[in-house]
Amino acid sequence: MRRGISWPALWLAIIGFGILYVPVVVMVVYSFNASRLVSVWAGFSTRWYGELMQNDQVLSALAKSLWVAVNAATLSTIFGVLIALAFVRYGNFRFRLLLSALASTPLVMPEVVTGLSLLLLFIAMEGFFGWPAGRGIDTIIIAHTTFGMCFAAVVVQSRLRDFDMSIEEAASDLGATQPYIFFSITLPIIAPAVVAAWLLAFTLSFDDLVIASFVSGPGSSTLPIVVFSKVRLGVTPEINALATIMIALVAASVIAASVIIYRNATGRAVAEEKGSQP
């Protein structure tokens, strides 16, 4: 049954998506502007992308950002899986509710608070036992892991919750030890969620400005920090080009995560559909 188009709903949708994406489109379009002036269109050009590739400051910031994001995402995923296992598998242990609330609070904590508190912690730690000596890439990775793992835990928990426990029991009945069960059975089955969690943590880390500004030190400016400081001197087409590349990168990982989650969900649905036939 096809329903007729409801014009008010259509207009609302156009306005809504317009508000969301027109600025992005404008920025992407102007990144291909031949003119140095941001507001004047002077024809199509990829000149700014070329210049960006010559800009050592930007390239080194990009490399740092990728390094931070890969490390933070990996650590976040490992800790996130452990958190998820603890909450889903170990039933109703003491203070479970309190701990699960504590584990998800960083999701809604203002970034300024997270950034400031981590900065204070790092300074205090340096005072007590000399580590971390100053702030830099390592402290950014630690900071990104602290909130990234909470997001990863949420993603993995939802997958673990509908994990059929008897599958692990079957493996243990067939003589497998707990670590072997985890790597041969549990991990492959929850793999799509683990990959999605990694991509999510990567994205969060890659575009974080606020927390990184608090815990970065001299010589450890990530890409968002560089962009932000450049913008303060005026928006240049170069920045537009850089932002476009960042959008592409983030969009690619978000799409990859969605596709993995979606394909897995439909794959399972298809499998169950087939299974119901005799």
Binding site: D164, S166, I167, E169, S172, D173, A176, Y180, G275
Partner: protein, 357 residues
């Protein structure tokens, strides 16, 4: 010789609920034993205790003379086939079946040989490369069976092995299961809520209710000589009549209730005892005219249902006493009784089961 499996006074509580209540049971080597009961009667808990996934709060479980209290699931000579099969979805059929063999550290050629043998046993030769989601329900059930048998357990536990199959397939699979059990001579314990399944499969059935074993017997004894009302009612259809013993006479008991009945004396009854009589539907005959024998009651047909093989009747006798009975559809039955028609039922004194509750 001590029994193969010795369960002694086992109790398991979950909070306030007693899942298994001071249960004792012996099972012999090579038996196909069925634990039968409604959901929540504790049968699955008992099975999981045998597999090692639950511990007993008190009591002991011995398998082949060894106390199992401190033995983890992986080290028990026991394998379990789960109700939902619990196949590893990311592994092929062959990898599923070989999982336990690889864990046991068998050499590769032997794993391959056993795998072939198992695939042949469950008639899945050539299907080793498939993934579980590419199989039908019946095939998945057989993969689960092969995987559970791979380590050659002394005892195989099957949790509702046929529940996920449709009726036709279930009937075929029942015989296949019995066949495999007889060929391997492995002890099987099957948990089921389906009394017909239990009757078909088992050499002995233990009927469970509220964490206790109510009666343990062969299918025929359970059906023909139930110990109490619960068993009589749980296994198949039954009609009950209440009465009081009026006389004991040469191996027969006379009972007076809404109708007078003569039954074979099972012993232990005295004049004046209240009894409940149980009678199976297929042991009652229905006719248009009185035959003049013992235990004949005038009735009216209240309801009937034609099922093909037989016709199921519900009839009303004097004082509103209701009986359920089944008449096979023979060719000679030219004019079977229809709704609201009067007739006579009769039954043999030997077919009446006298119960005290």
């Amino acid at each position: 010789m001590s029994p193969f499996i010795r369960i002694r006074n086992v109790t398991r509580r979950f909070g306030d609920v007693v899942a298994v209540d001071d249960l004792s049971l012996d099972i012999d080597r090579g038996e196909l034993f069925c634990l039968l009961g409604a959901s929540g009667c504790g049968k699955t808990t008992l099975l999981r205790m045998l597999a090692g996934f639950e511990r007993a709060d008190s009591g002991s479980i011995e398998i082949d003379g060894i106390d199992m209290a401190a033995v983890p699931p992986a080290a028990r000579p026991v394998n379990i086939m789960f109700q939902n099969y619990a196949l590893f979805p990311h592994m092929s059929v062959a990898d599923n079946i070989a999982y336990g063999l690889r864990r046991a550290g068998l050499p590769k050629p032997e794993i391959a040989a056993r795998l072939e043998e198992l695939l042949r046993l469950v008639r899945l030769t050539g299907m080793g490369g498939r993934k579980p989601h590419q199989l039908s329900g019946g095939q998945r059930q057989r993969v689960a069976l092969a995987r559970a048998l791979a380590r050659r357990p002394k005892l195989l536990l099957l949790d509702e092995p046929l529940a996920a199959l449709d009726k036709k397939l279930r009937e075929d699979t029942q015989f296949e299961l019995v066949d495999i059990q007889e060929r391997l001579e492995t002890t099987f314990i099957v948990v089921t809520h389906d009394q017909e399944e239990a009757m078909t499969l088992a050499s002995r059935i233990g009927v469970m209710d509220a964490g206790r074993l109510v009666q343990v017997d062969t299918p025929r004894t359970l059906y023909d000589r139930p110990r109490n009302r619960f068993i009589a009612d749980f296994l198949g259809t039954v009609s009950f009549l209440d009465g009081v013993v009026t006389s004991l006479d040469g191996g027969f008991v006379s009972i007076d209730g809404v109708v007078s009945v003569t039954a074979v004396d099972p012993g232990g009854f005295a004049v004046g005892d209240a009894v409940r009589m149980a009678i199976r539907p297929e042991k009652i005959t229905l006719g248009r005219d009185p035959g003049g024998g013992v235990n004949e009651i005038p009735v009216t047909v209240e309801d009937l249902a034609f099922t093909g093989v037989a016709t199921n009747y519900r009839v009303i006798g004097p004082d509103g006493v209701r009986l359920k009975l089944t008449q096979p559809n023979r060719r000679g039955d030219v004019a079977p009784l229809e709704w609201e028609q009067p007739g006579f039922v009769s039954f043999d004194p030997a077919d009446i089961v006298l119960l005290r509750d």
